[in-house]
Amino acid sequence: MNAWQILINYAVIPLVKIAVIVGILSGGIAYLTLLERKVIARLQQRLGPMRVGWHGILQPIADGLKFIIKEDVIPLKADKFVFTIAPAISLIPAFVVFAVIPFGPPDSLWGTGGYVTDINIGLLFVVAVSSVGVLGIILGGWASNSKYPLLGALRSTAQMVSYEVAMGFAIIGVLLVANSLSLVDIVQKQKTMGLWFFFVQPVSFLVYYACGMAETNRLPFDLPEAETELVGGFHTEYSGFRFSLYFIAEYANMITVSSLAVTLFFGGWLRPFPNVAALAFLDLIPPPLWFTIKVLTFLYVFIWVRGTLPRFRFDQLMNIGWKVFLPVAMANVIVTSAVLLSFL
């Protein structure tokens, strides 16, 4: 391999892929907000945004412009340096995670693989990097030097740290079946088994998805930003573009949780019943599109749950995390390994 090939393989191709993914994600997040407002409006028998463009189709662009133009207020007594970088600390991990999530099979995209990179600790990478995002929230809440953000940050930290544990144990169930941490290998394994891991590990999926909702601070687990008690939670003092960074990070995390749920439990880029030849006509839809369809389904469930369920009380939230999800996930790990050892 000469120098040019190395440059193209290790710099140009990944950079192009990163640019495409970041572009699609940013656009997707913008329109996810519109989807959310429309669906919530339908659930509440309203119309939602209707004014900007046809049925509000240009609303996200108007919102984005508004965020950029608005004044950036930094409270007088805030720690300026920390206040400034905290939203970025929250946002960057949310995007970095997509480096290892596979959107297509390894032989797609002219043999370069439908992902930025495939590393042998893929799943650990996702869990580790997304755990860094908490720091942005806790630092933002502290740096505001105001009581509601501080309370929101404390709640949020307690919540995210406790649900991370149950989430980790839920993921171990998949690991045991897949025998690999590489996300590409996990999807390939589902193809060779001819079975989505959801049918092998349903308990693990339910715990994972519920914990995912708690991790992203979404209803019914949105205690960190409970408007009725905390004004706005950790981002009360944030305005303009800095606020929008937190906002984008939250939606990016929703997409991460959905993508990971699809990759781990619903066959990633695979079509339904990947080994049934009679359904080969489903291959007309390319793998990345299958992936997108599945992710959109999960995002819809996120919004649907938000429109349906009331908020938990904080002690209920902690109880359900430590006393229900964690023991169930641990039991699932024990049962799975016992079954794997004795029957396979």
């Binding site: 720690d79 340096f81 920390v82 590393i119 042998n120 600790i121 650990l124 990478f125 869990v127 580790a128 990097v129 755990s131 860094v132 908490v134 720091l135 806790i138 630092l139 809440g141 502290w142 740096a143 501080l150 940050a153 404390l154 930290t157 740290v161 991370e164 690999s180 941490l181 590489s182 290998d185």
Partner: protein, 173 residues
């Protein structure tokens, strides 16, 4: 040859970064800033582990230290008034004693490193073992065979610490 040079450049850049950040941890007046510098240093360590082809350790380093322990650190620091600390003197009058103690400690640390280079030479793991997918399996196998006893002792120690913390923190069990 060139890759060896690049390797050295990566190592010394990371090492300089870690040393610099570690210094800032103790030099910063604001405890939250100190925590931020410590986080940067810990991420630098994770990068060093990646360079050593220990990706699993690198991932665990980020997950446990940055995502777990540092969050708890910040949790505690947030509840203490940081503003008061900012007005305290940075240098105490005991710096001469501290300098001597630090030099003695440095000598103490240097001795086993220099001596141990030949005495406890770590067996080089063959490249083939370190290739893709083998990394985590290798760590797991070694933990449950060669290093079983130290591993179990460490886990019992942690368990004792957890139970101790619960007993100390709860008034009524």
């Amino acid at each position: 040859m060139t890759s060896a040079v690049a390797d050295q450049i990566v190592f010394y850049t990371l090492a300089a970064l870690i040393v610099g950040m570690s210094l800032m941890v103790i030099l910063a007046r604001n405890a939250v800033r100190s925590a931020l510098y410590l986080i940067s240093a810990l991420i630098g360590f994770a990068a060093l582990y990646v360079r050593l082809k220990a990706e699993f350790i690198a991932g665990v380093q980020i997950l446990v230290y940055v995502g777990g322990i540092m969050v708890l650190f910040l949790f505690v620091i947030m509840l203490v008034s940081v503003r008061r600390m900012e007005h305290q003197a940075k240098w105490s009058h005991q710096w001469k004693v501290a300098l001597v103690a630090a030099l003695v400690l440095a000598a103490e640390l240097a001795y086993p490193i220099v001596k141990g280079r030949s005495l406890f030479a770590v067996k080089q793991t063959p490249e083939a073992v370190l290739t893709k997918t083998q990394n985590i399996q290798t760590v797991g196998e070694v933990l449950y065979s060669t290093y079983l006893l130290p591993f179990e002792i460490a886990s019992v120690l942690l368990l004792v610490a957890i139970i101790g913390a619960v007993v100390l923190a709860k008034k009524r069990i």
